[in-house]
């Protein structure tokens, strides 16, 4: 009951507001084309009829929410999941490279963080490059990665996953550097009084202390991975995936398809962040975390 009032009500209120705004803009943005059509057909519809027409165009400038909802429902639940028009199929294609890239990115981020925390020269040499790497627009880099890898015979899942890796290692590296350096001075002094070795300090103190930081940064990283996977699907002219749906929708002006692919992408992103969040909470519980 409390969680209903505290969480669900505010979120649905905002959602309802957004839907209203969306409808208003759908009418406004689709009106010029509709007026054009009516003029050519020599029709003079009343206001209500006119608004109805702006909300049911086959290729609207901005599809109305119910059009997107219907399209999303049909392509998610009414199609065989093996059909390349199924959103489930396309979401799965994107998800698989997202997960692979996320796994690579998390591993790479952790390795970089461990290096930075333990090797002073890496701290000074690597960090500026890592930050610089994220200022490069991924949209510009993605086609080059795809093309170069295709030239050496690597196609399919790996190139897309690498773009996800490129985006997701960064938050993990930064978060883990912070996490591995988070132990209090007293805890480090304590390990010092035990004459603990560097690896003992690492495994018994730094690693457990960094776990909350890891999950916080993994939440950011998994969302970035999904963006990477979608971006990676654009330049390949990929035949499947949410990115491919967006691209083909744009080619054929299927605006409703674009929007329902966007909805699918958002749902996948929300689910991924949620799964990482739940995993984080389970690990926290297992490590004696105080229930909130």
């Amino acid at each position: 009951m409390d969680s209903f009032r505290e969480k669900i009500v505010p979120v649905t209120t905002i959602l309802a507001g957004l839907v209203v705004v969306w409808y208003v803009f759908a009418v406004i943005l689709n009106a010029p084309f509709q007026r054009d059509l009516d003029r050519r057909a020599d029709e003079t519809p009343g206001t209500v009829e006119f608004i109805g027409k702006t909300l049911s165009q086959p290729k609207p400038t901005l599809p109305a929410p119910h059009q997107v909802a219907v399209n999303f429902f049909e392509n998610t639940f009414l199609r065989s999941v093996t059909s390349n028009r199924s959103l489930v199929y396309n979401a799965w294609v994107t998800l698989s490279s997202t997960l692979l890239g996320f796994a690579f990115g998390t591993a790479l981020g952790i390795i970089i963080a461990v290096g930075i925390v333990h090797v002073a020269s890496l701290d000074r040499s690597l960090m500026p490059w890592i930050i610089a790497s994220q200022t490069i627009p991924i949209l510009a880099v993605a086609p080059m990665i795809i093309v170069v890898l295709a030239a050496v015979g690597i196609t399919g899942l790996i190139p897309k996953a690498l773009i996800s890796t490129y985006l997701s290692f960064f938050p993990v590296a930064v978060g883990m550097v912070k996490g591995l350096r988070s132990p209090e001075l007293t805890h480090l002094d304590l390990m010092h009084t035990y004459y603990a070795s560097r690896s003992q300090i690492f495994w018994k103190l730094r690693v457990p202390a960094s776990v909350p930081f890891l999950f916080t940064s993994m939440k950011v990283a998994v969302a970035a991975s999904l963006v990477g996977a979608i971006v990676g699907e654009l330049p390949t002219g990929a035949v499947a995936g949410i990115g491919a749906k967006l691209l083909s929708g744009a080619y054929y002006s299927q605006s409703i398809d674009i929007w329902s692919a966007l909805v699918a992408g958002s749902i996948v992103a929300a689910l991924l962040v949620m799964v990482v969040g739940i995993a984080g909470r389970l690990v926290d519980r297992a490590m004696g975390g105080r229930p909130a």
Binding site: E184, T186, H187, D189, L190, M191, H192, T193, Y194, Y195, A196, Q200, K204, L205, P208, A209, V211, M287, G288, G289, R290
Partner: protein, 263 residues
């Protein structure tokens, strides 16, 4: 255990100067001190007098810049390598992701004891600090006083003969503190460990110690060393006796002589 029991801690002309942005700060100057086996020594003085620094030098957490110091006849670093002491910090400093028994096990894991021996030591030390039954609790489930007792158990776990305690009860309320003082004395009496205890409470220092080292700031130095005439067994109400009050007055005089009451 040798015939001529050597000093546990021996310092001569010990000095430590910190280089700070505001120039050098003399945390310790000319400290001469010998601590024998089985003594309970308190270091008392206002903040900045170097009492914690001295303890940290003994523990090899700070390096002296002049003079000599030995712990169990070795350099502090060798003593630390031999795990010659247990250290109790002002904060309990328990690892929040470990249960109480795993916290006590931490030093035992580091020195590489077998699981069976770990379990035996955990049981024994937790009994010693009256925490039996709390093995599986996490630190946040315990009160501040219990957490500090757990950290004392952890310091006792690897059975070093020397216990270094840096204001271990400073953050606790007075009732808990009285109780823990009494328990600490009993523990000292039954284990015959050497204890170095930093405090800024005169009653605490007088109640616990066989000897009280009075220190003063700017520069940090030892201004007086007072032998306690109190018996080894000390009930809490000994603190109302004239003998106790006389020692407390001497400590206060020592602090005043070191200008510790001036601004």
């Amino acid at each position: 255990m040798t015939g001529t029991s050597p000093a546990v801690v021996s310092a001569s002309k010990l000095g430590l100067t910190f280089q700070t942005n505001d120039g050098p700060v003399q945390a310790l100057t000319d400290v001469d001190l010998t601590i024998g086996k089985g003594e309970f020594i308190s270091f008392i003085g206002p903040s900045g007098c170097g009492k914690t620094t001295l303890l940290r030098v003994i523990a090899d957490l700070e390096k002296p810049t002049s003079g000599m110091i030995s712990v169990n006849g070795m350099s502090p670093e060798e003593a630390r390598e031999k795990r010659a002491y247990g250290y109790v910090f002002q904060a309990a400093a328990l690892f929040p992701w470990r249960t109480i028994e795993r916290n006590v096990a931490l030093p035992l894991e580091i020195i590489g004891l077998s699981k069976a021996e770990q379990a035996e030591r955990i049981k024994r030390t937790l009994e010693l600090v009256n925490l039996s039954g709390f093995e599986k609790k996490y630190p946040w489930q315990l009160s501040g006083g219990m957490q500090q007792r757990a950290s004392i158990a952890r310091a006792l776990a690897f059975d070093a003969d020397l216990l270094l305690m840096d204001e271990p009860f400073g953050a606790l309320d007075e009732i808990v503190r009285d109780h823990l003082n009494k328990q600490l004395l009993e523990l000292w009496d039954s284990t015959n460990k050497t204890i170095c205890f930093v405090t800024h409470s005169i009653p605490e220092a007088v109640y616990l110690s066989t000897r009280i080292v009075v220190m003063s700031p700017r520069p940090g130095r030892v201004t007086d060393v007072i032998e306690s005439t109190l018996p080894r067994k000390r009930p809490l109400h000994i603190r109302e006796t004239p003998e106790f009050l006389a020692i407390a007055a001497r400590v206060r005089d020592g602090l005043r002589a070191g200008h510790s009451y001036e601004d």
